[in-house]
């Protein structure tokens, strides 16, 4: 382009009427600047967006100091300063201020600054966050003995340790021995983990078996009637099994009870900034750290442990805390299943369109239609998935295969399988279009060469065309995966749920439960951001989840682009 510009301005030994510099209007500088500005705006938008998500997502888990703010009107507020903004105090708020503060606001064009503190202690305050305006503040400090306690319930606690009770060894008043506390804490967490294993794993298994026996009885009643000898036989078997299972259940409950009793001996008494106390079992403390007395190494450890929890644990507190493992798992399972379906069918359709169908008007109409289906809103596919897969196909399967579970639907409602199929349908056009382009990019001469050597049509496709088109097909598949992983709207209709602690894969026969509803990272964002009691409390979680989702999709897209570029370089043939 620079070269072109130079050509235009190249000095010529021409008559004086022709000027060396062209007319300014011809240069169109103002318009170029407008055009460039538009491009700049676009770049700003995308870069700003990514920076916003990246910064918020990366910084969320970094432990922040706890600030204790003394208010002018008396009272103390302790919390993590989350963000600050400028706001416009209302007239009644202004009226309650002294003259100096009012004048300061007046000078600032009616704006004042305020800071959002994460004050925690939801069980005591009934709010997690509090705005403190600068004009309210009398002074702020960061006392070293403030601790930030993440609990299993009620969200974080911000305050001081009042007393530690380790099986009778109390350490009231004196500064707690954090080293001892942390080893006791580790032991308590291990107990809690064991308790969860019993409750989830062993007791869950017993419950599963009990339910299976109940269903067996119903099935027998449906198959043989309630009066036959077969039914009696099954009934007796079921009763025996059930009794055995219930004994096992009692044993497990006793074991759990013992652990719980042991657990009750280790307690932590905390005091919030105003002095109100709260005693929690040590095992219900997820994490505890002195926020203002943390070395860089300590902060890093908290940071890493939070990320580890996020990636490997289940959500707590209406999804606003804890991890997103089920959502990651659900997203991955759904996407993989979708690819398994979409890959063969998409490639099949493209092969038919490009290699087998007679290229005429009809095929070009079909091609345009398939192309356009990529532009049909995803929610429409969701509607189809719900109406056809879940309500018609699923309900039929239920009636034929699982009559004993009715009226509770098994396949007759949204689930992993239907979600994958719906998204497969949604992404089939993407794969078809990509595969077709890849097939078209294989030079005709190669095909003709192969056929001329006596290879059959299928052999040509199998050994000549497909290998060369493979990177293009892979690109299409990965793009389809990226699109599928980011879709939420159709999933809201066909099987995604807010909380599904049961993963679609577990230890019970048949191990893969395609009928189960599942969690999804995208829906997690929607749910935590919009359905939780306090969107502010959920925001950090949403940002981290967003970062994860975008990262995932960006990685897929980057792979696709890399493949595409490799393909282009390899077979630099003209495209349309």
């Amino acid at each position: 382009m620079e070269a072109r510009a130079r050509e235009v301005g190249t000095p010529l030994s021409a008559p004086p009427a022709v000027r060396r510099t062209s007319d300014l209007a011809a240069r169109g500088e103002p318009f170029l600047w407008l055009f460039g500005g538009a491009l700049g705006l676009g770049i700003f938008m995308i870069v700003g967006f990514l920076l916003l998500v990246a910064w918020n997502g990366i910084s969320t888990f970094w432990p922040k100091p706890i600030e204790v703010v003394a208010l002018k009107g008396g009272g103390l507020v302790a919390g993590e300063p989350t963000r600050a903004e400028s706001f416009r105090p209302g007239p009644e708020r202004l009226a309650g201020l002294d003259a100096a503060a009012r004048a300061a606001i007046e000078r600032n064009g009616g704006h004042a600054r305020r800071t959002l503190y994460r004050i925690g202690n939801y069980d005591l305050y009934n709010e997690d966050f509090r705005w403190v305006a600068d004009f309210e503040v009398a002074g702020a400090s960061r006392p070293a003995d403030m601790v930030f306690v993440e609990r299993l319930e009620w969200g974080p606690f911000v305050g001081r340790i009042k007393e530690v009770d380790l099986d009778g060894a109390r350490s009231a008043g004196a500064a707690p021995d954090l080293g001892r506390l942390s080893s006791a804490h580790a032991a308590a967490r291990a107990r809690w983990q064991r308790l969860r294993e019993i409750e989830r794993g062993a007791i869950g298994e017993v419950n599963h078996d009990l339910n299976a026996e109940r269903l067996r009885l119903r099935r027998a009643a449906l198959d043989h009637g309630r009066d036959g000898p077969r039914f009696r036989q099954v009934e007796a078997e079921v009763a025996a099994r059930t009794a055995a299972l219930e004994r096992a259940y009692a044993g497990l409950t006793a074991e759990a009870e013992a652990i719980r009793k042991e657990d009750g001996k280790f307690r932590l008494t905390l005091a919030e900034i105003g002095g109100k106390e709260k005693t929690v079992p040590l095992s219900e403390v997820v994490r505890l750290y002195p926020a203002n007395d943390l070395s860089l190494w300590g902060k890093l450890r908290v940071y890493v442990s939070r990320w580890a929890e996020f990636l490997s644990d289940e959500p707590r507190e209406a999804n606003t805390e804890g991890g997103v493992l089920p959502a990651i798992f659900g997203t991955a399972a759904m996407t993989l299943l979708m690819v398994l379906v979409v890959a063969p069918f998409g490639v099949l359709a493209a092969l038919y369109l490009r290699e087998y169908a007679k290229q005429g008007k009809l095929v070009s109409v079909v091609r345009i239609s398939v192309n356009n289906l990529a532009g049909v809103p995803s929610i429409v596919y969701g509607v189809f998935g719900l109406g056809f897969f879940a309500y018609i196909v699923g309900a039929t399967i239920d009636q034929l295969v699982f009559p004993e579970r009715l009226p509770n639907p098994t396949f007759g409602t949204g689930g992993l399988l239907w979600s994958s199929l719906t998204l497969a349908l949604l992404t089939v056009p993407v794969v078809v279009v990509a595969t077709e382009e890849a097939l078209a990019a294989v030079p005709r001469s190669m095909r003709e060469g192969s056929l001329a050597c006596g290879a059959s049509k299928w052999q040509t496709i199998r050994y000549i065309v497909l290998p060369r088109a493979m990177p293009g097909i892979m690109t299409g598949l990965i793009l389809a995966m990226a699109r599928g992983a980011g879709e939420v709207a159709p999933l809201m209709l066909v099987g995604v749920v807010k909380l599904a602690p049961e993963l679609p894969v577990d230890g019970f026969f048949p191990y893969i439960h395609l009928e189960r509803s599942f969690m999804h990272l995208g829906f997690h964002i929607y749910d935590v951001g919009f359905q939780s009691r306090n969107s502010e409390a959920g925001k950090p979680m949403v940002f981290v989840t967003t970062l994860l989702l975008i990262g995932l999709i960006a990685a897929m897209n980057a792979t696709a682009i890399y493949l595409r570029n490799r393909l282009k370089r390899k077979y630099a043939v003209g495209h349309f």
Binding site: G9, S22, F523
Partner: protein
């Protein structure tokens, strides 16, 4: 990877086509080998079939989506059908019965005679069922009144007394074993012992239905011996302390409103009833009464006379009823023959001798002149019968009713949609009387006439409320001041009238799309032109994927950022944000003018990346300037408070209108200056030095802007004086989650699509056109404007259409950031509800195969058709463009 498959194939084909070396050695063997191996042929044939059938199936499956959606939608428009019809004879009373009642499951039908006798029979076969009777003590009821729903009934008698009673068709579900033995079989479902009917129901259970009746003591309402002509009756209050309200009219023309409150003494368990009565004044003495209605909460009383005059009393103050309004139900000579409430007891259905069936309800009206500010309006005029309306029966569940005329025609209709669902031929016209009854679930119609001929229809009218008209047209809903497009699919009460107009939703989609495109098109197109024509290909290779990355951002993320981060920020800094739209272009133009002062040699050296960097810097500066000047801007244009201004509470329209008109007037000024002074400017320019020319150009731009500013000010003043307002149209009351935010967030989704496709289209313009233009001495700008753009225009158009398709279908952004209010309002600062968002929000709760479910499928089908049409159009344009570009 590249070599091995070919090698493999060579190995396989070696069988039928030996390499040249070995071919000469064994000609005989070669001939045998030349035959293709069977397995190859079979595999080839198999592949043929699998790929052809599989490929076609995939394509058919994908295309079948539309067919499936349409199949779900179709029942919305099919009206009703008759499932079966049973005719039988019953022992009909001589006199016309007071009313007919059918139970919930269409098992038993009961006719209540004026003498208190109940004649019950099996609905399907007419087999008689024994039923108790109301003991009127030998009297004959002169009047009857009862609510639409429930079991209560009031009878008026000739001696001026009233008796309250209950008629119940009780159904109980019994276990399979509890069915008594020795029952007579009625039909495949029902058995009877002559007193009750036992029906087999799914799940191996039995349902027993029988008739129960009870009657209270006579209460003297009118003077003794003055017959009661009409009575209507409602029960309110709590179950422990029921309040009965009833209206009675005696022959002397005195109309009374009575409230009876029953109280049970907790100690003695004695029920005491106190009756208080007031007189309704204002009725003409010679009233020829047809009917009388009392509303659910007894706050309105209607009295209708034969001429069609309706007297409406406001009885909110029980002690002082006021005649609020006199309305005419029957225009012309026609006489009123039937009067009923619809469910909810707001709407009144009136039938006349001319066969007309009209629906009225009170609405709040300015200047109604009534005590309660209401006025009765004729909201629906249903299709008239051919003969005088003889009777009607309304549904307990919805707005369906059956009407009967003197010729024996029975029509099933729905009020909201105004459609006649079924036209049935019932009784002979020669019968003395005929009676019609609608089953509670709207699934059966019973008709009985004086000669004992009864017909019981089983009908199915699953979606009576939807027609093309109710879905896409204006409908006058109960209580609304005028016909409107309204979407309100559900509510807490049973008597709710569902409002399924898709128009507000389609409007929402169009509004979101339009505002999003208004922002996205300029950014995307200008950016695409710049990328394609004015930056180095290497830079392009970086910028384009960056922009494309934006396309792969999941929309749920965009929605989240838009609603939770952007919306509060925009709300706080709205003035600054609006200012940015003016500051950015102006600043860019200003910087361009400044850049022209840089000597050409140096400027050209910095033509590529450095200039783009400076442009980006200017954009950043523009953001900062908007932020800094936001407060000042708000003071100057919006009287210091944008929210108050938008509400219409402060400031005037002119400043903002001036700003809105600025792009238009700038274009006008630019064109005008070019046309009028173009030659003169050109001549003058030629004599200037480079720097002088820059200065001249700056001056020219300044002049153009001054002109534009003046022009738009004048225009704004003019429009303002004519009465054109900005507020209340495109801007207005500010809500946090609004179209402005949606438009911006949707920009993220739409800009990359338009950008990529438009850039591709511009890039596809053959290189020789560009070279030719430049070789003729045109600048890159001239080339772009006069050569590239016209050639690539159809491609750009396709890009816009495809972007539009994406905006139309976008779901999560609208769900999260648009507030979901189904309004018909262009205000950019108000919310909206789009088709897609509506589906996402309401479908999970919709009952399968219910009306809402099907209407939402229709919404999906609408979206499908809209996007499919837009995309197909775009695709055709794009293909044409490609073909043309290839020919050039």
């Amino acid at each position: 990877m590249d070599v091995s498959p070919t090698a493999e194939m060579a190995a396989e084909t070696a069988g039928n086509m030996p390499p040249a070396g070995s071919g000469r050695r064994a000609p005989l063997a070669a001939r045998r080998d030349r035959a293709t191996r069977r397995s190859v042929l079979i595999v080839d044939r198999l592949a043929d079939y699998v790929i052809t059938i599989g490929g076609m199936m995939v394509i058919v499956a994908v295309l079948a989506i539309m067919v499936f959606l349409a199949a779900v939608v179709v029942p919305l428009f099919t009206g009703a059908e008759i499932l079966d019809r049973a005719s039988y004879r019953i022992d009909a009373p001589r006199e016309r019965p007071l009313f007919a009642e059918v139970d919930e499951y269409r098992t038993i039908a009961v006719l209540v005679g004026a003498d208190g006798r109940l004649s019950a029979f099996h609905y399907g076969t007419g087999a008689p069922i024994a039923a108790p009777a109301f003991d009127f003590g030998g009297q004959t009821a002169t009047a009857i009144g009862r609510p639409i729903k429930g079991i209560d009934v009031a009878f008026g008698f000739g001696d001026g007394t009233i008796r309250l009673g209950r008629l119940r068709l009780v159904s109980r579900v019994l276990a399979a074993g509890e069915m008594p033995a020795g029952l007579g079989r009625l039909d495949e479902r029902d058995f009877s012992d002559g007193r009750a009917v036992y029906s087999l129901v799914p799940g191996g259970q039995v349902r027993k239905v029988e008739v129960e009746a009870e009657l209270g003591q006579a209460q003297q309402i009118a003077e003794a011996g003055v017959p009661i002509l009409a009575v209507d009756y409602r029960v309110g209050g709590t179950a422990e302390r029921p309040v009965r309200a009833f209206v009675s009219l005696d022959q002397s023309g005195v109309k009374r409103l009575s409230l009876a409150e029953s109280r049970q003494n907790l100690l003695t368990r004695k029920v005491t009833t106190t009756v208080s009565t007031t007189e309704l004044k204002g009725l003409p003495p010679d009233l020829d009464l047809v009917g009388m209605l009392i509303s659910e909460r007894a706050d309105r009383v209607y009295v209708a006379e034969r001429s069609g005059r309706l007297f409406r009393f406001d009885t909110r103050d029980f002690t002082q009823p006021v005649l609020a309004e006199i309305a005419d139900l029957m225009p012309g000579e026609a006489k009123l023959t039937a009067l009923r409430f619809l469910i909810g007891e707001q709407s009144i259905v009136a039938g006349g001798t001319d066969g007309s069936v009209r629906v009225f309800f009170p609405v709040h009206k300015e200047g109604a002149g009534t005590t309660d500010g209401l006025a009765l309006v004729e909201a629906h005029t249903l299709e008239p019968h051919g003969a005088s309306v003889a009777g009607m029966s309304v549904s307990e569940r919805g707005r369906t009713l059956v009407t009967l005329d003197n010729m024996g025609e029975v029509w099933l209709r729905h009020v909201t949609s105004g459609q006649t669902l079924l036209r049935l031929k019932g009784a002979d016209a020669s019968a003395r009387w005929a009676l019609v009854g609608l089953a509670p679930r709207e699934d059966g119609i019973l008709m009985v006439d004086s000669r004992g001929a009864a017909t019981a229809w089983r009908v199915s009218a699953p979606h009576p409320e939807t027609t093309f008209g109710t879905l896409f047209g204006k409908v006058w809903y109960e209580g609304y001041p005028e016909p409107s497009y309204t979407w309100q699919s559900s509510s807490g009460t049973d008597s709710f009238e569902p409002k399924f107009s898709l128009v507000p939703l389609i409007f929402g989609t169009v509004k979101a799309t339009l505002y999003a495109l208004l922002f996205a098109i300029p950014v995307a197109l200008l950016g695409a032109i710049y990328t394609s024509e004015f930056v180095h290909p290497a830079v392009r290779g970086v910028i384009k994927p960056t922009m494309e990355m934006m396309a792969s951002l999941p929309s749920v993320v965009l929605g989240f950022i838009a609603a939770l981060i952007l919306a509060p920020v925009v709300e706080t800094w709205i003035a600054a944000v609006l200012l940015a739209f003016a500051v950015l272009p102006l600043l860019l133009l200003g910087s361009a003018a400044a850049w022209q002062f840089v000597p050409g040699r140096i400027a050209r050296r910095f033509d590529g990346v450095p200039r783009l960097a400076v442009v980006c810097g200017v954009v950043a500066l523009g953001f900062y300037l908007s932020y800094a000047l936001g407060g000042t801007f708000e003071r100057l244009f919006f009287a210091g408070d944008f929210m108050a201004w938008a509400n219409g509470d402060a400031g005037g329209d002119v400043p903002f209108m001036t700003l809105l008109l600025l792009p238009l007037s700038t274009a006008i000024a630019l064109a005008a200056s070019g046309r009028v002074f173009g030659d003169a400017i050109g001549r003058r320019r030629r004599r200037l030095s480079e720097r002088g020319m820059a200065a001249f150009d700056l001056a020219r731009w300044l002049a153009v802007f001054a002109l534009a500013l003046a022009l738009s000010l004048v225009l704004a003043l003019l429009l303002d004086s004519v009465g054109v307002a900005v507020r209340g149209t495109v801007v207005g009351t500010y809500v946090q989650r609004n179209t402005f935010v949606v438009g911006f967030a949707m920009g993220f989704a739409v800009i990359p699509i338009i950008y990529t496709i438009a850039e591709d289209a511009l890039n596809a313009v053959p290189e020789h056109l560009r070279s030719a233009s430049l070789a003729c001495g045109a600048t890159p700008w001239q080339t772009a404007l006069w050569v590239i753009l016209p050639t690539g225009f159809s491609g750009i158009f396709a890009a816009i259409m495809i972007g539009m398709g994406r905006a139309v279908g976008e779901t999560m952004i609208v769900v999260m950031a648009a507030g979901n209010t189904p309004l018909l309002d262009w205000n950019i600062f108000n919310g909206l509800r789009a088709l897609s968002a509506n589906i996402a929000v309401e479908l999970p709760e919709a009952v399968k195969d219910g009306t809402l479910y099907r209407v939402l499928f229709l919404a999906a089908l609408t979206l499908f058709v809209m996007t499919f049409a837009i995309n197909t159009f775009a695709e055709i344009v794009r293909l044409r463009f490609r073909r043309r570009a290839a020919q050039l």
